[in-house]
């Protein structure tokens, strides 16, 4: 167990390092001259001399490797530099925005888990009957509707037509519900299939025949015998979906006027605000890697067979 954790931690660190390299390289190799942009943003006429001065100021003339080492060294200490666009400290912006995006992802993951378990169980309890067909239909619909459209529908339904929930802003739980639901739709649809198919497969295993021979009823078999068997599978799939939520956040946060990381990232890309883009990318990648680490540990806890390989 300890061995496994230390090994996985080492892997994660290597991965994180490589990820930082990739995200730095990508941003640096993007076309366009950031010095020109900054010069224009400052309101001055972008004469070649002034542009040159700006470039010097933000360190564009240093060798790439040096820029990378400087940036990473600062980032590790929690200093992500200064936004080219606004001149404010990126780290200060991040703290607040991470909380917003964190709220979005945690809430959506919880909702997606609940909905997918409910739909999946419904289908597995009455396979190929009406509840199964409804659950399958909803999954198909949910998985094939683009998130921005789901968000628009949510606003139209809950805010405009019924006026139940605020259509934008980050002001307490009531304003969180619509963004949560919007982000949760796609993962809930995908995960409900994972639950449904996993349960069906588990229900045809020989140990279910044993369970039946013990006199257990269908509900007991589904919950006591089949559910523990699909838990590792579900956690794996959930991890992937939660990781992908960072991407969904980029779409959904601007939609609901949430000032989260997704919104920050999008603005950063639009204005070639490299410091912001790099910081967001690095956080997204770290989040991905941490989620994967947690998933691996959770699987280890829920599947005694894998636990044994590592003990």
């Amino acid at each position: 167990m300890i061995h496994f954790i230390s090994k996985r931690l080492k892997h994660s660190l290597v991965l994180l390092f490589m990820a930082s390299l990739v995200c730095f390289t990508l941003v640096v190799s993007a076309p366009g001259n950031v010095a020109v942009l900054i010069a224009e943003l400052r309101g001055a006429v972008a004469t070649p001399g002034y542009v040159e001065q700006v470039a010097e100021e933000i360190g564009l003339h240093k060798p790439l490797l040096m820029r990378y080492v400087d940036w990473l060294g600062d980032a590790v200490r929690g200093d992500f530099g200064i936004s080219y666009r606004t001149g404010t400290d990126v780290s200060a912006d991040l703290a607040n925005r991470m909380f917003v995006t964190g709220t979005l992802i945690v809430g959506s993951a919880a909702i997606a888990t609940l909905i997918s378990l409910a739909l999946g169980f419904l289908g597995a309890f009455w396979p190929y009957k009406l509840p199964d067909r409804v659950s399958r239909g909803l999954a198909l619909l949910g998985a094939s509707t683009p998130t921005f459209f789901v968000g628009a529908l949510m606003i139209y339904g809950f805010s405009v037509t019924f006026q139940l929930l605020p259509s934008f802003g980050f002001n307490g739980p009531k304003s969180w519900i619509l963004p949560w639901l919007t982000v949760a739709v796609l993962p809930a649809a995908v995960l409900s299939r994972v639950v449904r198919v996993g349960l069906e497969e588990a229900m045809t295993s020989p140990f279910v025949l044993t369970a039946k021979s013990k006199g257990l009823g269908r509900t007991a078999i589904l919950f006591r015998e089949a559910l523990p068997n699909i838990t590792p599978l579900f956690i794996n799939a959930l991890g992937t979906q939660v990781g992908l939520m960072t991407a969904t956040a980029i779409i959904v946060e601007p939609l609901f006027a949430w000032q989260g990381l997704g919104d920050y990232f999008l603005a950063g890309v639009r204005f070639r605000d490299f410091m912001v883009v790099q910081a967001c990318l690095l956080i997204f990648l770290t989040f991905f890697i941490v989620v994967n680490l947690i998933v691996d540990l959770a699987v280890l806890l829920t599947d005694p067979r894998i636990r044994r390989q590592w003990s």
Binding site: T210, A211, K212, S213, K214, G215, P228, R308
Partner: protein, 331 residues
């Protein structure tokens, strides 16, 4: 009570319907088992021996429609036509099951202790704590060393033989009166087979249960069973006390089966003596004797009508063969 059969099956026919096909794996079979008695049901793969025992108790895969006719009486209670919730109450409580492959019969992600204890909770209305104690008792009963540690383990941590002992412990946990063991030793190492069989025999005797032992191993039959039913192509070919049927088989199929067992006197390198031909597929019921195409005694009349089980010169042995039974009245 002892004279009355615990399980009385008469003229049981099972039809299985799937979306694409219909088969009749059991065709008019009768037998009975008394308390404390062990009945062996022998036959090759596909002869219907498992379906015959599982179908009346509702243990069939989903997606298959099972149609039963005839009569299956457990402690005088008719099982055919009994609704599933009622049958569910009997499973584990009145009838314990042991399966062929202990490697897959246990839930891989649940502790062994829980898998045994939940039986006691379900059928003996025990508290979880009492059920745990009962599980410990059962694990000791089936002869597992270090029982306390075993209860906390998962199935994959045990060997095949130990897992089969756990399956037996689960089957015994509800204090059933009848034990149905479906090829309990087939998937095990040869050295372990004898131990498991001895254990089964031992608990059956100590708990005075009836046991139906489904097998195709004549050695198992000789070692454990009191009576035997030989199945061929969904029908009973011969039945009677084990010592009589095995020593002087009358039906040509039983003779062929026993003859096929390799003997010590066989010269090294000699060929196996198998029955020629293959068993029929279980499609439409066969009009005459199902064995006729493979039988050395067959006469044209064999294919005319289905041979009934007839009492042989020994009144405890019934044989379904028109040639052997020539001149005898149907039983």
């Amino acid at each position: 009570m002892r004279d009355e059969a615990l399980l009385n099956v008469s003229n049981l026919t099972v039809n299985l319907l799937t979306a694409k096909s219909a088969v009749r794996p059991v065709d008019g079979v009768s037998y009975s088992v008394r308390q404390g008695e062990c009945l062996a049901i022998v036959g090759e793969s596909g002869s219907g021996k498992t379906v015959m025992n599982f179908a009346p108790l509702g243990l069939m895969p989903t997606g298959v429609t099972t149609m039963l006719s005839g009569s299956v009486k457990l402690e005088g209670r008719e099982l055919i036509g009994l609704p599933e919730p009622e049958i569910q109450k009997l499973r584990g409580k009145s009838v314990g099951f042991i399966f062929q492959d202990p490697m897959s019969a246990l839930n891989p992600v649940r502790r062994i202790g829980r898998q045994i204890a939940e039986m006691a909770e379900l059928h003996l209305n025990m508290t979880p704590r009492a059920a745990e104690a009962r599980a410990l008792e059962l694990v000791k009963l089936v002869g597992i060393s270090d029982p306390v540690a075993r209860l906390r383990q998962y199935p994959h941590e045990l060997s095949g033989g130990l897992r089969q002992r756990i399956v037996i412990a689960i089957a015994l946990a509800g204090e059933p009166k009848l034990l149905i063991a479906d090829e309990p030793t087939t998937a095990l190492d040869v050295t372990v087979q004898a131990q498991i069989l001895r254990l089964l025999k031992d608990v059956q005797r100590r708990l005075d249960m009836a046991m139906v032992l489904i097998t195709h191993d004549m050695g198992v039959v000789a070692g454990a069973a009191d009576n035997i039913v030989v199945m061929y192509a969904a029908r009973a070919a011969e039945c009677g006390p084990v010592d009589k049927v095995l020593v002087s088989p009358r039906h040509p199929y039983t003779r062929g089966l026993i003859n096929a067992i390799p003997r010590r006197e066989d010269p090294i390198g000699s060929e196996f003596r198998g029955l020629p031909g293959i068993p029929p597929t279980l499609g439409a019921p066969i009009k005459g004797c199902a064995l006729a195409p493979r039988c050395e005694l067959a006469v044209p009349a064999c294919s005319n009508s289905r041979p009934p089980l007839v009492r042989s010169d020994d009144s405890s042995v019934l044989v379904a063969c028109p040639v052997v039974n020539q001149g005898k009245a149907a039983a």
